[in-house]
């Protein structure tokens, strides 16, 4: 895994292996996606659905229609924030799989705070305070896995996954018992008035959260590839023993990585609430984190590539929802598609590895 990460990092530097290597990398990134589309197409055909019609519909509804593209871009906002958080963690060799819990707690915090804060202060300040609160709550939720990993070496995959189950339940409890809107019969938080939500971009329905998401992921990318702090995190991720040998404060950096990663997941929650949802309904869990994780892997932890893959995911999920209704394909077919991409990618990676070995021998 770490070899992947760092080879991705190395490829960002100008002097590389030259044109053929770049072509190979491009083929490795795009080829599996095309192959997976073809395979999933066969599956659709087996279900009695014309795959061209399905893909055409997905593209039409997710990308080429004005309302579709606006929905797609709006959906990208929280996904990009989550992707940014995942890139920080994964590049530092820390597998934060608890983003969904962190996201939901951030969302509930935002839904509880924002409607209250906008009555007290200017709306921009209310947003800012809400973002900070959501990030702090999500960070606090990652503290237990962070400390366990940093000082006891406890596997963070297990702890973050467990905390995500607890986090989703806690978010529900908070919605149903603490932040319940007394004005409605359905259990949900108070709703942020539409005029107090993040501004829309230009004359569209695209949420301003998209800008925040793009800033977050580009900032993270630059931090990880260009700054001393990012390099320290990459050293910890690529070779923890070398980090200790070089005198880096590995436990402290580990805690910071958890905080950044969880904070960005919490920010994603706040962006989704203040930008789009306005409130949190009980039992609401879009599970963005679990769908973004494969995208971040496909992008090899590269921020710019992640933007493209997140766009692809948004098109698939927005377009897929319409196509599913129209053509009678189960709504979860998007997940099948993503899974196929991952499997094909793993196979491509394996073949490439064998090929490289054979060439060197």
């Amino acid at each position: 895994m770490s070899a992947q990460v760092t080879s991705g990092a190395a490829s960002l530097s100008p002097a590389g292996g030259g044109g053929s290597a770049a072509l190979r990398r491009f083929g490795l990134a795009v080829g599996p996606v095309l192959a997976a589309l073809a395979l999933a197409g066969l599956l659709l055909a087996a279900l009695g659905v014309n795959p061209f019609e399905y893909y055409g519909y997905v593209l039409q509804r997710g990308l080429f229609s004005p309302s579709g593209i606006q929905q797609t871009l709006t959906r990208m906002a929280p996904l990009l924030c989550i992707a940014a958080g995942l890139i920080v963690a994964f590049r530092a060799g820390i597998w934060n799989l608890g983003v969904d819990g962190q996201f939901l707690l951030g969302a509930v915090t935002a839904a509880a705070a924002a409607p209250f804060l906008v009555t007290l202060m200017p709306v921009w300040l209310a947003w800012l305070v809400t973002f900070v609160l959501a990030m702090l709550v999500a960070m606090a939720w990652s503290l237990a896995p962070a400390l366990l990993k940093a000082y006891q070496g406890v596997n963070e995959i297990i702890t973050t996954l467990m905390m995500t189950f607890l986090g989703t339940s806690l978010a529900n409890v908070l919605v149903k018992l603490v932040f319940l809107d007394p004005g409605t019969t359905v259990p949900q938080t108070r709703t942020l008035p539409v005029e107090d939500r993040l501004p829309r971009l230009f004359d569209t329905t695209i949420s301003g959260g998209l800008v925040l998401g793009l800033i977050a992921i580009v900032a993270v990318h630059i931090m990880m590839t260009r700054t001393d702090f990012g390099l320290k995190l990459r050293v910890v991720g690529a070779n923890p023993n070398a980090a200790i040998h070089a005198g880096l404060p590995v436990p402290w950096l580990t805690v910071v990585v958890f905080a950044l990663s969880a904070g960005l997941a919490g920010l994603a929650g706040a962006v989704d609430i203040i930008g789009v949802q306005g409130n949190v309904r009980a039992d609401w869990n879009p599970a963005y984190g679990l769908t973004v994780i494969p995208m971040v892997f496909l992008a090899r932890f590269n921020g710019f590539a992640a933007i493209i893959y997140v766009l692809l995911l948004s098109v698939l999920s927005i377009g897929g929802e319409s196509a599913a209704r129209r053509l009678g394909v189960p709504n979860h077919f998007t997940l099948v598609l993503v899974a196929t991409v991952l499997i094909v990618l793993a196979i491509a990676e394996y073949i490439d590895h064998r090929y490289q070995q054979a060439r060197r021998a």
Binding site: A3, A10, S13, D228, R234, V235, N241, H245
Partner: protein, 523 residues
């Protein structure tokens, strides 16, 4: 146990021969053109320190690894041993250092593992076979006990039994005595004798001289991947134990005639009363699970002086280096660098103060293999100007620095952006030298600086070490190669069990003195 193997007369034609076998790993030559023959009826001792290449040799014999050069012959025919299963079918059984039994299964179940999956396990046949075999060898094996409940000695017996049940003609025992009690070692020795009397060949790997002399028929000495000597059975029998050990010590640590590594050493005289550059007092560390810790280590190192730390690997040398560098916290004691206490400083602060540490684990901790040379050269200075300004890296400065170091230290690399893991061991070492000797070095700790390097790089590294001392810096040289220490050092301290057991001035006669201290024979 097949009938045929018993009829082979003792010391007949070799069952397995290695011819010029070479095995390389990235940056390290683990076996360098090793030839040896394993004959029935002999306990063939493979003697050598950690890193001498014993484990790699066994790995190739047991089918875990393939030689890069040379060949292995079984019964006179060249054979490629493809896998451990293939090795077993050729009659080569291996008992590894760490027990390889499934702890939750009974002894009988463990012995039946690996049988054909489509057959029912034949417990009754096994019982009869084991009873006959164990009885005749004087082993006591309870087939119904759970493997985890057996002592380490008993587990080993089960593993030996397993190898015998598969009709092994050669039994390889890898450091089998390291986990045993003295009584267990005696028992194992007796068992080996009975086995070779039945015509088996035994390869007994150890780094303990006494055991080699007591239990062996033939001794092959490995050093840094090369075979440096062999004691044949007739000579073995003609010597008494002490003479034999003296003989082997000579091979392990002795001077080779026409040694290309030979160079004249210039003695350095420390001025009386001069303040030591590095002064270590009562440095202590608790023993770990696999390390002896440090027991009140004290020594002084003066400017321009080369102090060697000798000892069998794993006697606390690495811990000493890491405590001095600040990678692990000591449990007490003081370290004065140029008169100033540094024992509470961080790794980075100690480095800035001039205390440098060249790790022996070049790829494991010294570098990040997938990172380019440029960044590896600055691994211990991340964030410092002029290479980073305001948190952002400055590529031109970083690259200029790398190009300069690559030229000064003669690093052979396609580009300064090449991932360091692609370089040879010698070139990685040059990068590390360039990094650690960079401006401000006062005391440099070398841990096995020439381990795994070829001759040219070994000589270049040693020249570099001499040059550092000549420039008035203090050098602490940890090495398991006594020859290296004798060539370079002014004084040699010997470490055993986490303590400094003696310090020897490097004068004529030092070799024998250090050699004896090292193996704990007597001071």
């Amino acid at each position: 146990m097949s009938q045929a193997s018993r009829e082979i007369p003792a010391a007949g034609p070799p069952i397995v021969e290695l011819e010029g076998v070479t095995k390389r790993f990235p940056g390290v030559t683990a076996n360098d053109s090793v030839s040896l023959a394993i004959r029935p009826g002999e306990v063939h001792v493979l003697l050598g320190e950690n890193g001498a290449g014993k484990s790699t040799l066994i790995g190739m014999l047991s089918g875990l690894q393939q030689p890069d050069e040379g060949r292995i012959k079984v019964d006179g025919q060249p054979v490629v041993i493809r896998s451990p299963r293939h090795a077993l079918s050729l009659g080569i059984g291996t008992v590894f250092q760490h027990a390889m039994l499934v702890p939750t299964l009974t002894v009988a179940e463990n012995l039946l593992l690996g049988g054909p999956w489509w057959q029912r396990p034949r417990k009754d046949a096994l019982r009869a076979e084991v009873d006959a075999l164990a009885g005749s060898l004087g082993m006591k094996v309870d087939l119904d006990s759970i493997a985890a409940e057996l002592s380490l000695g008993e587990q080993q017996q089960v593993e030996i039994l397993r190898a015998l049940l598969r009709n092994s003609r050669i039994l390889i025992l890898d450091e089998s005595t390291s986990m045993l009690t003295p009584a267990g070692i005696e028992e194992l020795g007796g068992l080996m004798r009975r086995l070779v009397e039945r015509g088996l060949a035994i390869v007994f790997i150890t780094h303990k001289l006494r055991e080699a002399a007591r239990f062996g028929d033939r001794i092959t000495v490995l050093k840094l991947g090369r075979k440096v000597g062999e004691v044949a059975p007739d000579r073995f029998r003609s010597l008494d134990e002490d003479a034999l050990i003296a003989d082997v010590v000579e091979m392990m640590f002795g001077r080779r005639s026409g040694d290309p590594e030979e160079t004249a050493r210039q003695t350095h005289v420390v001025e009386a009363g001069a303040r030591p550059l590095l002064s270590v007092k009562n440095l202590r560390l608790k023993p770990g699970a696999t390390s002896p810790g440090l027991q009140s280590i004290s020594f002084d190192l003066h400017a321009g002086e080369l102090l060697g730390i000798a000892g069998i690997d794993g006697n606390g040398q690495k811990q000493l280096a890491e405590v001095l560098a600040g990678q692990i916290a000591s449990e007490g004691g003081s370290v004065l660098l140029d008169g100033a206490p540094v024992e509470r400083l961080s790794v980075g602060a100690r480095r800035d103060a001039g205390l440098r540490y060249l790790s022996d684990d070049r790829l494991g901790e010294g570098t990040v293999g997938s990172f380019p040379i440029t960044l590896n050269l600055l691994l211990k200075q991340i964030g410092q100007p002029p290479y980073w300004r305001g948190g952002f890296e400055r590529n031109s400065e970083i690259e200029r620095h790398a190009v300069e170091k690559i030229r000064d230290y003669d690093v052979r690399t396609p580009s300064e952006r090449t991932p360091i893991g692609r370089l040879s061991g010698g070139n990685i070492q040059k990068v590390l030298l360039a990094r650690e000797l960079a401006d401000g070095a006062k005391v440099v700790i070398f841990n096995k600086p020439t381990y795994g390097l070829d001759l040219a790089n070994t000589l270049a590294t040693r020249d570099r070490i001499r040059e550092i001392a000549a420039r008035g810096k203090g050098v602490l040289l940890i090495s398991t190669d006594l020859e290296e220490l004798l060539q370079l050092c002014d004084r040699i301290a010997v470490m055993a069990g986490g303590a400094l057991v003696g310090t020897v001035e490097n004068e004529p006669g030092a070799r024998a003195q250090v050699g004896r201290l090292m193996i704990g024979v007597a001071a």
